[in-house]
């Protein structure tokens, strides 16, 4: 999916479980969470085209209902939780506790992995986002992320 997003010239930042794993979290995640640049109309079209090609459909709702995946739907529903031929993907125009794409980008770092280069939300902002989301599953992840931050700070200090 990451390769597809990059090849499709989508401007995005990886957030959520994959970003946590890039920072050292041992939790296994199967979905990809991204924050996309919603102010750039071209980016919306590129992302929507890619999602349509992947046959993206909202997760957790009755299947088989008509669903138009294009930039207009993305404008109407800027946060989408989707399942697709490539796997589950959550697309968001903003991240709770961090802000819209521009703020998320400011708090991101470049990672080269799985054969591609992309940006991931940094660890302090990931912790902020988890706290702001406030769901039990986010709070369950906090002790590990806070320990990761403490240990990585200690490691960089030595």
């Amino acid at each position: 999916m990451l390769g597809g997003l990059i090849a499709g010239k989508v401007r995005f930042i990886v957030v959520g479980g994959l970003a946590a794993a890039a920072h050292g979290s041992s939790r296994v995640t199967n979905d990809l969470d991204i924050c996309y640049d919603a102010l750039d109309g071209g980016n919306l079209v590129a992302l929507a085209k890619l999602l349509a090609r992947w046959k993206a459909y909202p997760r957790g709702v009755e299947t088989g209902l008509p669903f138009i995946m294009d930039d207009r739907t993305l404008r109407g529903a800027p946060i989408l939780t989707l399942t697709s031929a490539e796997g589950d993907i959550d697309v968001m125009d903003r991240i709770a506790g961090v802000g819209p794409y521009a703020d998320v980008r400011k708090h991101s770092e470049k990672v080269t992995a799985l054969g591609v280069s992309f940006r991931v939300l940094d660890l302090p902002s990931l912790i902020k986002a988890k706290r702001a989301a406030g769901r039990p599953r986010d709070f369950e992840h906090l002790p590990e992320l806070e320990a990761l931050l403490a240990l990585s700070k200690r490691k960089s200090a030595t």
């Binding site: 920072h23 041992s26 995640t29 199967n30 909202p58 992995a113 002790p143 806070e146």
Partner: protein, 167 residues
């Protein structure tokens, strides 16, 4: 469905829904069909500027149409010089997206005051008490992000294969 999930599904502010329900004397029931109806009402009042009661009547006629690939005329003058047309297929796509977000993403928040932000030694001791394997974290930190993500991919593939075989 919680009030917050209901508001997300109908793409409306929960306070606006509550106030409008009081004005319309409509009992609030947090379910999918009501969210769809409130979504129409919000669209017609906030985006188009119809009065609340007119929007409620129009929304009632719209929810009766189960599927339509053609735009539906909600209101028009006798000569059809001016009309309000709703693209139902578009509305349904956005509603499905919002409903999915409400169910998957906006699950109920944790009750009570959030735990304090832990840092430094305190973060390590509270993580240890919580049952986090600090040795595992230290070994993860010794790897590069590329190695960590390659490991995640391998673990994820393994779990997927286990699930597939269990079926």
């Amino acid at each position: 469905m919680t009030a917050r999930q209901f508001a997300v599904a109908s793409a409306a502010d929960i306070k606006w829904i509550m106030n409008s329900a009081a004005l319309l004397r409509r009992r609030l029931r947090y379910n999918d069909s009501e969210a769809r109806w409130w979504g129409f009402v919000r669209l017609l009042t906030e985006a188009i500027g119809l009065p609340l009661k007119t929007a409620a009547v129009a929304a009632a006629s719209l929810v009766r149409i189960t599927q339509s690939s053609m735009p539906v005329t909600v209101s028009a003058d006798p000569s059809h010089s001016a009309s309000i047309v709703v693209d139902l297929a578009r509305y349904e796509s956005i509603f499905l997206g919002n409903l999915s977000r409400a169910r998957v993403h906006e699950t109920p928040k944790r009750k009570g005051r959030p735990p304090r932000l832990a840092a430094g030694q305190q973060a390590l001791s509270s993580a240890y008490r919580y049952g986090v394997d600090l040795g595992l974290i230290q070994s993860a930190l010794a790897r590069t992000p590329a190695q960590r993500l390659a490991m995640l991919e391998a673990n994820s593939l393994f779990l997927r294969e286990m699930r597939r075989k269990a079926k």
